[in-house]
């Protein structure tokens, strides 16, 4: 088994560690006794700052659960999760909510936007909720990056699926979170729109220094990442750096074959 843990080292950005989030011996189990299902089985993982990480695996491998736990959306059965130096396992709902609001960004597969708010209102929503003023320059830069300048007053229903996901990306970026978590952000998009959104995510890592974690089962999407983690049966079974779509696909086929023969 390959360990996904890297030696913590101090990076150059503002005295922060180079690891944005860490999971240590994380177990997530549902039910008890005979019906007990283990979704995450003593997972150790480090998410590197300023890098684009993809989590892959077959359905039921626990990849979404891992992301939910890392993001403070779900609780763990045992183990610890740190966001930067903050341990988030054991935090009360109020603190967790604050943490998500101030330090984490989200992009979901679908239903990312509030239908009653227009694009710009959706983008600034996390800051509005927190009662913070958005940084005008940064906001302008984000909006420009995702290419939505002309559509900021549109309601979600007036936008295409790709545009909606770009608004979601902009919302995630606008508050300058430490990490953005994406749950199949391109799952509902055609390949062109998907490529567009992934391109923005890549650029936000390269140009804005953003940390991104994305769950996907699409090898093409995974190829935009710096590093791919493979999950199976609740464990991290492999990882790959600077992947290409073909490499990812091969590896997947490999797992599938192994899964069948084992």
């Amino acid at each position: 088994m390959t360990s996904a843990v890297t030696i913590p080292r101090h990076g150059g950005t503002g005295g922060r560690t180079a690891v944005a989030a860490r999971a240590r011996q994380v177990v997530k189990a549902y039910g008890s006794g005979e019906t007990r299902v283990v979704a995450l089985d003593h997972v150790d993982v480090d998410i590197e700052r300023g890098r684009f990480t993809a989590i892959m695996g077959p359905s039921g491998s626990g990849k979404s659960t891992l992301m939910h736990c890392l993001a403070g959306l779900d609780t763990v059965t045992s183990g610890q999760i740190f966001l930067d130096e903050t341990e988030i396992t054991g935090l009360k709902d109020k603190k967790l909510t604050q943490l998500r609001r101030d330090r984490i960004g989200f992009i979901f597969q679908a239903f990312n936007l509030l239908p009653t708010l227009n694009a710009i209102e959706n983008i600034t929503l996390p800051m509005d909720i927190a009662g913070r003023k958005p940084d005008r320059d940064w906001l302008g830069r984000v909006v420009d990056t995702v290419g939505l300048a002309g559509r900021l007053r549109h309601r979600p229903t007036q936008l295409s699926g790709g545009q909606q996901q770009r608004v979601a990306v902009a919302r995630a970026l606008a508050a300058r979170p430490e990490i953005i978590f994406g749950d199949e952000p391109t799952g509902n998009l055609d390949s062109r729109a998907g490529a567009e959104v992934l391109g923005f995510l890549r650029r936000s890592v390269d140009e804005l220094g953003q940390t991104i974690v994305m769950v996907t089962h699409d090898p093409v999407a995974a190829s935009y990442a710096d590093r791919v983690l493979y999950l199976a049966d609740g464990r991290i079974v492999d990882e790959m750096h600077q992947p290409t779509a073909d490499q990812v696909l091969d590896r997947m086929k490999d797992f599938d074959a192994r899964g069948r023969t084992s």
């Binding site: 959306l73 909510t97 998500r100 609001r101 984490i104 960004g105 239908p115 708010l117």
Partner: protein, 855 residues
Amino acid sequence: MTVLKTSMRNFFAHKGRMALSAVAVLLSVAFVCGTLVFTDTMNTTFDKLFAVTSSDVTVMPKDAESEETAQNGVPESLPASVLERIRSADGVRAAEGAVAVMNVTVVDGDDDNVGATSGAPTLAGNWTENDLRSMEITSGHAPRGPTEVMVDADTADKHGLNLGDELRTIAQTGDFTARIVGIAGWKVTNPGAAVVYFDTATAQRQLLGATGRFTQFNVTAEDGVSDARLKRNVSAALGGGSFKIQTEKENADENRAGIDEFMGVIKYAMLGFAGIAFLVGIFLIINTFSMLVAQRTREIGLLRAIGSSRRQVNRSVLIEALFLGVVGSVLGVAAGVGIAVGLMKLMSAAGMSLSTEDLTVKAATPVVGLVLGVVVTVLAAYLPARRAGKVSPMAALRDAGTPADGRAGRVRGVIGLVLTGAGAFALFTAAAADKASEGSLFLGAGVVLSLIGFVVIGPLLAGGVVRVISAVLLRVFGPVGRMAERNALRNPRRTGATGAALMIGLALVACLSVVGSSMVASATGELDKSVGADFIVQGNQRIVPQAQKAMEQTPGLAHVTHYKVLDATLTSPDGRTDDDGVTAADPTYAEDLRRPTTEGTLADAYGTDAMSVGSDYAEKHGVRVGDILTVAFKGGETAKLKVAAITDDDTAIDQGARYLSIDTMRKYLPAGQIPPDMIMFAKAEDGREKQAYAALKKALHPYPQYQVRDQTDYKQELKDQVGQLLNMVYGLLALAIVVAVLGVVNTLALSVVERTREIGLLRAIGLSRRQLRRMIRLESVVIALFGALLGLGLGMGWGATAQKLLALEGLNVLDIPWPTIIGVFIGSAFVGLFAALIPAFRAGRMNVLNAIATE
């Protein structure tokens, strides 16, 4: 069969969402059934009572009226000699003379009235064989002499009377005191009358002021002789003449007639309020089904795609409504019986005793409840069901998040505007009407049209009104307020219907409060303007001579005015007659009530053989000062009286009264026919008002049936009475408002379910539970305030129109009770907060992961 199965599964799958609708149906049905059971029970009680109080055949004087006594205040009676003639008739087993009067007041040693406070009468009479059918002596013995009295057990209980206590009976013929020697218990339920018994001679002397006379004869038939036959025989034996002869049934029916009228008013008023609750419930049901259909759009689309017909889909929704109607109605019928028992307890608290032994649930009651509940529910669900049928198979394929129903149709706008316009026009016409009858027709039409118009146009108004309310109230809540506003606006039809349900109840509250407050203001204004008397004395018994005397002898009074209402037939110079009677008063009445005249001087009308008429009468019959009217006094002579004044009828007090002096009356009416005073007025000597008021109160203390009031107290009393009436009506309207609040809860609860994913998203990106709950509460407040604003506006419009119309009847002052209106508005905000309690709590508890999990 499959349709039925799907419907049933849907119904039980969504039983939580159906619960509030079921409660609405339950409440409305319960109110209807409760009313029916309650009134039926009262009827049973009275039936049982009258069945035992009426003898086989009753013989009374021809003019005997069941409620009122003769004009002179002493009941009509028959000589004892009649008894012998009755006894001589065939088939008579027994006959006895009875004295029974209602125009008395009985007080205990502390001068406290022992009569019922519920409006039931005090009965006084002799103890007869017939009374043994309804009562039995539980302690002591029957009265045997002039100083002995027996009282019924209920009254004794209520007032803590014991054997040996003294009771004073205040009759038209004088006061007399007797000691309690017996207490008699009822064998049936006595709804409230206080009854006292004397021996026959005492009853005759003290109650009728004569010996050897009876107010009625109770005749018992021999075995095998029918009541009708006995009646014929008695009638033959009496040889016609001035008698009223009734069988047991006829007598009971006559006794019932008066009560039926009263019960009818209660019954239909309460059913009216139940109807309003039903109306409000309809909105709730429509909303529930609309939302369920909207949430199930994909499911329905799937059904359609795999081959269900429109009718099947349509029917499946209606069958769900049927289940809802049946469940709600069955529970409602049961709850109705509970409500009836509750009402009976309430009545007991108000001094009217009813027994649950008499609880009457007629077969028709559950039938009416069930049919009403089911039919209303299914009808209300019809529109949503039709919409469900219209869902296209494509809906199954579309990834519809929340179905947007944002566009309220233009057709709706036009229809709403036309209806509202027509309503406004009708209201304006009503306000400008010259005749009350015509105007009230327009008022009714205006109220109905404007209400429907507002309901139809509500969704369109929701946009503007909600924005205004939000601009004022929600801005301070920042983004949470903004989201609440947007949520309230996203489905105007839903917000409109939810608000409209609240609107109906509050419109009625506003309308009635405006009318009530205008009533008080107008009457107070009128009192200030025209009443010159310092003190007003009146009560539910005509003022007996001994009380009149006590008042006349009170020190410190400048004058005392007697006021009597006389039966008389009037013939105007144009030959037309009417039986509206005249008012006889002392000339000082012109000071006590300053009435402006259109012609002549009011003081002159109190001259010998003079009188006044009202301006309406004068106009109608072309009567002028100096004309002669023919006045035929009942029980007296016919007089020719000269019109000396015409009073202006633009007033609320004594409108249309025709005055003449008591001296004039005495000329034509023999002393024995002169009625007791209806009201008395008095004026204090200058500067001695306070002392005079105290003295007058003291003088009339032994006569608790009369209230002595100065102008301030009189106004307060008036205000209290109107206030009490309004509170009662508000209480009944509370049901409709409760149903409307359920509607708000329902809408919010379903919205929360509908927006599960949205809420999950918000929570995921950092909205705290508290902010989430606040968002839902604010949405609720906005909806409630929207309903309140519309309702209060509409209601004030109705109220103002009603006042303009009633100005014809003397309701001259429009007084809008701002404290009430503002109170209701602020109260609505709290109602909104309250309605959001559970939905907000549930939204806060929602699991973020479930909420955002993709299907």
